[in-house]
Amino acid sequence: MAEEETSKKTEQELEVVKQAISGKEEKIGRIEREEQHIYKQVKSIVFSVLSPKMIKKMSSAKIVTPELYDKEGYPVDGGLMDIRLGVIDPGLRCKTCGSKLKECIGHFGYIELARPIIHVKFVNIVLTLVKCTCRDCGRILIPDNKISKIKEILDQVEKDSGVEERRQKVKEIIATLKTVNKCPHCKSKQKKITMEKPTTFIEEEKRLSPIEIRARLEKISDLDCEIFGLKVPYVRPEWMVLTVLSIPPVTMRPSITLESGERSEDDLTHKLGDIVRINQRLFENINAGAPEIIVEDLWDLLQYHVTTFFDNNIAQLPPARHRSGQPLKTLTERIKSKEGRIRHNLAGKRTNFSARTVISPDPMLELFEVGIPFIIATKLTVPERVNEWNIHYLKQFVEMGHDKYPGANYIIRPDGKKKKITEETKEASIEELQPGYIVERHLMDGDVAIFNRQPSLHRMSMMCHRVKVLPGKTLRLNPAVCTPYNADFDGDEMNLHIPQTEEARAEAEILMEVQTQLISLRYGLSIIGCTQDAISGNYVLTKDESVKREDAIDLLSAVGVTDFSKLPRKSIVTGKETFSVLLPDDFDYTGHSRSCDRSKEKCDKDAHVVIKGGKLVSGAMDRNSLGEESGLMLRNIHQKYGKDFSINLLGKIFRLGIEYLLRIGFTSALSDTDLPESARAEIKENLDNAKKEVDSLIAQFREGKLDAFPGKTMQETLELKILELLNKARNATGKTVANHADKRTHTMIMAESGARGNLLNLAQMAACVGQQAMRGKRIEKGFSQRTLSHFRKNDYSPEAHGFISNGFKTGLTPSEFFFGSMTGRDSLMDTALRTPKSGYLYRRLANAMQDLKVEYDNTVRDASQKIIQFEYGEDGIDVSKSEHGFINVKRIIQTIA
């Protein structure tokens, strides 16, 4: 009866399959006839389990012998390399479809298993099914009257919260069934079934053979299956116990011919060979009427082979190994994990014509250049097609050979054949060369390259540079482009790609060139600007400096200026005049420098940067005008004169700063942190006062007279008050240091121009490091009721809770140093833990927003045209065309008027 039912089911299922196949044939036929593409939306996808009938139907060969090749090396009929399963040898034709190697995608085969085998990937489902159904009548262990109710609940859950929730609910229901010990339908007693991993089932100490398991699964009715989440035309429970095994086509397990002429088979073929061999022996033993023990042993062995064929990494099983001892890579290992098909082959791509090494800075390079070592330049090539005008030029490269620069590595014939250029073939290659050939010549100055540093979080992380071949072994870049790449030179490596087609080069040049990436699309300011020494240099030069005319010309010509007509004809020119030579004649700009206190109407003469008619009238150049991520002057130049001019100017300004510093010398000395006696006394008094005040607060607290803040305990209030007091004291010392520090020292110049460091750093060196805080509080961890064993318990004094009253120059006391290390370690840990977290957060955001696009009606929409925002950014402003996200109407009016 059960069999009859299954055959009916398989008929049903076959019908489904037939429809699918005939539908597909129809579609393919139509495409071929009309050469027309059919677009359809995928409505749903069904995942199902292959039935034995289906396996037989879709296969084109039955495999009966473990032999692979006959004496002539020809694949054996009915063997695992049967040519009905596809071809992997050149010259042979597939017996099933008649196509040649690479045209035939391969066809499945099957083997008839002598005894049923449990599919490892389904053991868990099989276990629940066997546990939750009656061992006699095969019904689910739920009384009839409750079945419909449970189905209703499940449907409701699915409607309300989706399939995922339904599965969860099914699991809950199944969990309740495992304790039922009497069938509600036929009243027979249920025995306890356990599973011994991986594939052995035991019913009250008696082992259940896969035959019995399969028989029980067959008895489960279609309606009961649905409660478990198995829909019948697609899945029948007994299909999870295999009676036939599908054999994958040879095309997915090709053998490789070793250099010795020996054939080395794929891991899957090895495994399948084992299966077929044991299967044959099992057949023979059963037919010969061998004793039960032998048959069972062979059966278990077959089970092991089939299991490891699917998954060779099962905890309880020893993995199947090669003779060399390395584990076989079977089906699951092919797909799973980082080296698997999905993450390695589908999500990860690799490329040729690329290079990677350590980077180092070279300010004499233009911003849009990249310095490339000779070794790399002789390996990376650019294909150039020969025509009658360049044939002579290209022959020169071939003449040089592959190891001399500039030479060529390959020539490609019009039919696509690639020929390597060697000493021997050189002469022949030159003779052969004619229009239509392609020469792969070495990289040369001016070639297009794409430069990249990971993590590529930005579009500015991959920019197009011009090649400049240089001696040395590192990739070189102008330090000004470090910001967009977020690179430094402490050992960073970067990647270089050479576009190989005309289209790719054009695209790289137009869309990715450094010039086009000057203005950040995140905040609308220049991302590339002067850094570090370049800022200090320009600041010193434009502050109050004047130089001899000859020196100014020397300086300017070192930077790359050739026209000195703008320099006034005086024997001594000011730094501002020297700087102005770089500026275009019709450039006007007003802005604030860092020293400008914007609250006041008028401040120092150099606080307002004024450029009139291309002359720097007042103001010193500092980070506000030149710096990266802030340079407003650069933003304005870009707006008025365009990208090519501004990148050229920026390079010149950068070099001017460095060249000037080279001439005057620039260093940070210990004496920069020296303070006059009066200042030191002031600071000491200041700190002592603060300490006294803290002491009095503590005294108040101990007497219980301290007024608690609302919502805080007295202890918390004390902490807050102390923290506030000490912060105030530290700020006061900072001010004292700022007042007394010599403005002419190089440390101060760096701090003032914004090149590096700030006043706080100076104050920490000269006077007082200040309170060390962890999680916004004073340090309180460590021993019970104290931070270190050097202090008394319940000591609330500043020095016992991480206040460092010494400066770095005077030196720290041991306990101060320890507190300093505590916060140092804490912040180190914090960054180490935060980086991967924020990286993942960014990845999720990027993936979620990847194909959002601003449409012509200013709406932001996704790929299916769903509206995400009605007006881009709510104000419709393209930030990359604004100044810091705003439109400076005043400036626009000024430029028009």
Binding site: Q865, K866, I867, F870, E871, G873, E874, D875, G876, G885
Partner: protein
Amino acid sequence: MKKPKFKVDKHTLTPKHAKLSEKEKTQLLERYHVTSKELPKILKTDAALREMDAKPGDVVKITRKSPTAGESVFYRVITDV
């Protein structure tokens, strides 16, 4: 269910929600060349809609304060699930 005394939709931090009339709705859909399928959604059980006589398929206009634009207008179609 007893209605809670606190009305979320009256809170200052809740942006203004207003139902569009049928005419306004068709105008909106026309302006953006969309069907209500492409509009952003709002759940009919959303607290801000509690005091409103709105049914699935209606469109609400949400007027918010915006740091970039001062005031921004957003539309959402009411959905069941």
